[in-house]
């Protein structure tokens, strides 16, 4: 069913009842798997992803090959097994995650591109130089898809890496931003939208943006649809602002989990901790 966006400017409400700058419900948990070094589960609306981080660990025999193959190309980041940890990202999309049950193999280029994007974004953010001769493996599982898939994967990875205790400069958070009316209608008054669902993604131009911490710095930017260049600025501003909202939410989740762990006595409270425990 084609999406009717003409009502967007009239009713100021979107198909799922949100306003233009509303995020969907973002629910996340960290430390979901007891056995893993770091793990997280994240929902952005109906997009549900799981992340497990293993490492920094000694590289396995099979993974070394992959790392050197990537280093042979132009990608200068992430290579270099000797002086920094290498990062391996695996994304598995479950067959039941979307409506059409399409089988995607390991060599699906779209998924490989997402893996490379996440890997390169992390390589610039993590302090990999602290772990030479080791590998950090990030396994992502997509359980359900409803738009903003890359954004959800990046957010889940950030949470799992925090759980694993791998030092990083700041949170990398991501979200999508779109623009009402498709490219054919050349009106410049088109309103930007935040956090699109599948139905909106199929009809409207959108981009995925990931930023570092509270800053305006863009870690990753992916746009796959045709859109006027003049609308880029509006979409990017909304996207960056959305990333800040996501960061606040993720930060709240991490802090809540931290204080819970202290209260339960899993972790000893230390005087150096700046976390305030008042509820």
């Amino acid at each position: 069913m084609p999406l009717d966006t003409s009502t967007y400017s009239l009713a100021l409400l979107r198909i799922d009842g949100r306003r233009w700058n509303d995020l969907r419900r973002l629910h996340a948990q960290i430390h979901t798997q007891e056995a893993a070094d770091g793990s997280s589960y994240l929902e952005m609306g109906h997009t549900k992803v799981m992340c497990v981080v293993t490492g920094p660990a000694e590289p396995q025999a099979g993974q070394q090959k992959r790392g050197t193959a990537g280093g042979g190309g132009a990608g200068a980041l992430g290579g270099g097994q000797k002086d920094a940890a290498s990062i391996v990202v695996n994304v598995v999309v479950a067959g039941f995650s979307s409506v059409d049950r399409k089988r995607r193999g390991r060599n699906d280029r779209r998924i490989q591109e997402m893996e490379i994007t996440i890997q390169k974004a992390l390589a610039a953010n993590l302090h990999t130089h602290l772990f030479p001769h080791s590998t950090i493996t990030v396994s992502l599982h997509v359980l359900s898809q409803d738009g903003s898939l890359l954004a959800a994967l990046i957010n889940a990875t950030t949470l799992a890496l925090i759980d694993a205790g791998i030092p990083m400069t700041d949170y990398i958070t991501a979200c999508t931003a779109g623009s009402t009316s498709s490219y054919a209608a050349g009106d410049d008054s088109a309103d930007p939208l935040l956090d699109l669902n599948t139905q909106e993604e199929q009809e409207l131009p959108f981009l995925t943006v990931a930023t570092l911490g509270d800053s305006d710095k863009v870690a990753a930017l992916v746009c796959e649809s045709r859109v006027q260049v003049s609308r880029l600025e509006g979409m990017l501003v909304v996207g960056v602002d959305g990333c800040r909202q996501v960061r606040r939410l993720l930060d709240g989740i991490v802090r809540a989990k931290g204080s819970k762990m202290i209260k339960e006595g899993v972790v000893q409270r230390s005087d150096l901790m700046a976390v305030s425990l008042e509820e």
Binding site: G73, A74, G75, A219, L221, V227, V229, L232
Partner: protein, 262 residues
């Protein structure tokens, strides 16, 4: 632009080489009549394949795509195929039974940086230069004319997207360089590729990871990319016009052509 792209078009074989200093890409277009995919009976088949072989560097192995190769293939797919540059519906001959299958084979002969921009330029130029055999349908029978019987016709082309890649250097990533060489690429902290056409429509943006860059700088780059794409468009138009003049011996082409203006 420090290095000039200098496309060379060959007479009959519909190939193109985009040559800049130290970098050679060959794109060859071919077309044949096949059966369309059952789920898209009204569309022709259009595919772009790209390969980086041991010709570029001994580290590239045959049949084992590297990261560079995957990203190049995805980028060409998004820039040219998904942006609807070629009207695939015009490739349909008999709905559900016969259609044209157009394929572009991109061979990288030598790479010295800025592979993506040159590859995209070569593919677009080759497709615009390509002429497919003319056809006619009478009742149920489809006739494909050989080049000797009827002059081949160009593809139905909607817009020409081009890529512009920006590489970022320095700790803050605030030094921007275009058209980097291979050596420079090894030192970059991030890169961002914009695909646009001359009408200012973005077809694709990809900044896949790397050092975070100020959002304002990204917007500035998008504006610069538009200027560069206009430059590319003019260059290709001039070359194609030159080639058309060379082919159109005696000015008879207008009368011989069965093509209608869209």
């Amino acid at each position: 632009m420090p290095r000039e792209a200098e496309p060379s078009l060959s007479e009959r074989t519909f190939t193109l080489q985009a040559i800049s200093e130290g970098l050679r890409v060959l794109a060859k277009v071919s077309a044949e009549v096949t059966v369309p995919f059952p789920d898209r009976p009204f569309d022709g088949i259009f595919q772009i394949t790209s390969e980086l072989g041991p010709m570029v560097a001994p580290s590239y192995e045959v049949n084992r795509p590297t990261e560079t190769e995957v990203l190049l293939a995805r980028l060409l797919e998004k820039t040219i195929r998904r942006s609807g540059a070629l009207d695939t519906e015009s490739l349909c001959l008999v709905a559900g039974q016969k259609c044209w299958s157009v394929r572009v084979d991109l061979h990288v002969l030598s790479a010295d940086g800025n592979l993506i921009d040159s590859a995209c330029f070569a593919v677009v130029a080759a497709l615009r230069h390509f002429r497919k055999p003319d056809t006619s349908i009478e009742g149920e029978t489809l006739t494909v004319y050989t080049p000797a019987e009827r002059e081949p016709v160009p593809l139905s082309w909607l817009h020409s997207p081009f890529c512009a890649t920006f590489d970022f250097f320095g700790d803050e990533g605030d030094i921007v360089v275009v058209d980097t060489t291979w050596l420079e690429e090894q030192l970059r902290v991030a890169s961002c590729t914009f695909s646009l056409n001359k009408h200012g429509e973005i077809c694709q943006i990809s900044k896949l990871g790397g050092r975070p860059i100020e959002a304002t700088l990204v917007i500035q780059c998008a504006q610069m990319a538009l200027d560069k794409v206009k430059e590319f468009t003019d260059l290709l138009d001039a070359k194609l016009a030159e080639d058309a003049k060379r082919r159109d011996k005696g000015g008879l082409m207008a009368e011989l052509s069965a093509e209608n203006d869209r």
